[in-house]
Amino acid sequence: MTETTAAEATPTGQAILARLRWAVRKGGIVIPFIVVFIILSFISPSFLRFQNIANILDQQAGIIIVAVAGTLVLIAGGIDLSVGAIYGLAGATAAQLAAWMGTPVGIAAALGVGLAVGLANGLIVTKFRINALIGTLAMSFVVSGIGAIVTQGNLVVVLDHPDFQQFAATRIVGLTSAAWMMIAAAIAVSVLLSRTTFGRYVYATGGNAEAARLGGVRINTVQVATYALSGMAAALAGTIDASRTLSAQASAGSFLTFTVLTGIIVGGTSILGGEGSGPRTVVGCLFVALVANGFNLLGLDPFYQQITLGIILLLAVGTDAWSRRLS
């Protein structure tokens, strides 16, 4: 969609630079991703095997589901640091209730937990005007604590419930149901962002909240909705991983929050809000996963992997800052 009006504005040097920045932002992570992908297929013959790709997708399913929903939160100008805690509590809830009352109850209850915490996050940020970083961090402590109390710190194991395992591990056309759910979530968020009125409101709210408000956008409702979706996505991811391993631990998500945030930022979504996209978050997460996969395939020290990840993250944020700078 690049229709223009009759008279195109003449590009000045500044405008060209602005366009270059726009292009870097738009394309962004895709090029490094392709480069890493090609390098890995050359140096490791096993990389390009369908099974390896399918495994990566299966393993990344949870992270990407949380990340695409988190993209909504970030674009709307917020941040959700409670996803890891929700992931843990929801996984434990799903596993325990599936064992006691059957799989459907377990899954529904887990999603309910995610929705409730997400709504609470939304209210904390909008109604009580607490900074999103602190509000959701505090919520993550509360949720983790509840998880630890409920499970008494134990691993919850689901035995004799094959249907619970089928939730995430059913193979459909070569991919697991977890991977398919991830693909569905990524498409849903991408369509939501690029094609719906809600998507417009999300971008507007994060881009300039006051302008959005004066333009008739209910900015508080929009923000609450993004936190609710993020909470549900974290709960779904926790449930998927509990189903895959037939066990869950409330503390399992402690590192997830930061992995997800890294994927989103590397995908080019701005930490300042107003910009980003669903597909690029998927690429960002996969890029981080490919780097990890590459380190494994090459048998390199995992510590180098962390250093590399840190540098990639800094580069991503630096590029973001650069592309925002307009004199």
Partner: protein, 501 residues
Amino acid sequence: MAPDGVHLDIRGVGKSFGGTRALDEVSVAIRIGSVHAFVGENGAGKSTLGKIVAGVIQPDQGELVLKAEPVSFGSPREALDRGIALVAQEVALVPQRTVAENVFLGAEPRRFGFVRRRRLLERFERVVAGAGFQLPANAVVGSLPLAKQQQVEILRALARDAELIVFDEPTAALSAVEVQRFHEIVRSLAGSGRTVILVSHFLNEILELADTVTILRDGRVVRTAPAAGETEDTLVAAMLGRSVGRTYPPKQHPPTDADVALRVRDLTAAGVHGASLDVRAGEIVGLAGLVGAGRSELARAIFGAVPATAAELTAGAAPLPGGPLGSIRARLTMIPESRKDDGLLLRRPVRENVSLASIRAFSRFSLVRRRLEAKRVREALTSVAATSALETQPAALSGGNQQKLMFARALLAQPRVLIADEPTRGVDVGAKRDLYRLIVDLAAGGVAVLLISNEVEEILGLSHRVLVMRAGRVVAELEGDRMTEEAILAASFGRSLVAAG
């Protein structure tokens, strides 16, 4: 003392912002120990001149000569080093720290990097003793009323041995008693040999305090004269005058029996104290007044952007439901004062900016119909004569084209009432003409327009009727022959001791 008794000689100073000439060949000599006032309409250049003196703004042409020595200030800091301080309209203090800490902020007496607190208090007492007014050293600045905070700023200037202090609209937000107190302080500053530059639009204040007055109009000096020889009438007369080259579309008066499209009775909100007005369909009503008179506050309150109470607030036949969304649905739209802060999504495409307020009309089952959206946006852009591609970012557009986007957005919402707050600020002459045409055409099509502008001329050129606001109230309604620049200015400035509140 300099040989000729001139403290600061401003010689041929010029300054442009974008395409607008703010100051042109301005020359003024400020005598040592005098109180010198800069006076003029909104936008006449008096604030800009004050800021140039204090190093906040750098002139494009001309020079400043400080006690017979040419100087140029790259920053307020450099001006301060040469003994020139600015006390701005908005105080620039650290509200969490104490009075004494703020007075010596950045110039604390210290040893080995540690602040010497006792020395700091001693110095504070010395500065206060020389200032002629008292302030508690250990009071937290944020807890003080505005007038006291302003006194902290004055102390800060004195603590830096400032010999020339520029006050930019110092009494705009003070109560009557505080204004009196401020006047005493200014007199004692001048009495102690310091030079004071007073940028103010309160004529009585200028006549009471100043020794010399420089009257500015359209960025030029009309005259510099002793204040004793001036009256409010001579000042107002000198501030008047018409700049050349403006043309306004011919006025088409609405039928006298046109329905009232917007009715406001006794509206109260922050900065608005019981304002009432009517705008009829097809009518352009100009809302004039000084900066700070409450015009934008009234506009935002009507639109529902800020909480307000009113005896009556109706658009068409129905009361406005409150809130921006409710107003837009009731077909009342506002183009806000600052398009960058409150209007545009600078990094989203033009298309999304224009369709923002009416996106529901371009969607089915909440899916945006992009082709329909693009079509309507393109139509709207054409009707506002905007030359911008649909996918451009507004950040890359000129002020005029940005403002046209705001009009295009308003048009798409099909308003019956349009409030336009400073629609031509920072816009070049060509785009201004387009926007005037647009406002007149909208009114001709039956839209009720409430137009806010700092340019009296613009208000006169476009409006069918003019309302003047002062201190949060509508104080005058001018129609027909009574719609003159004199009448608007007289009503804006008022005639008694002016103090907000």
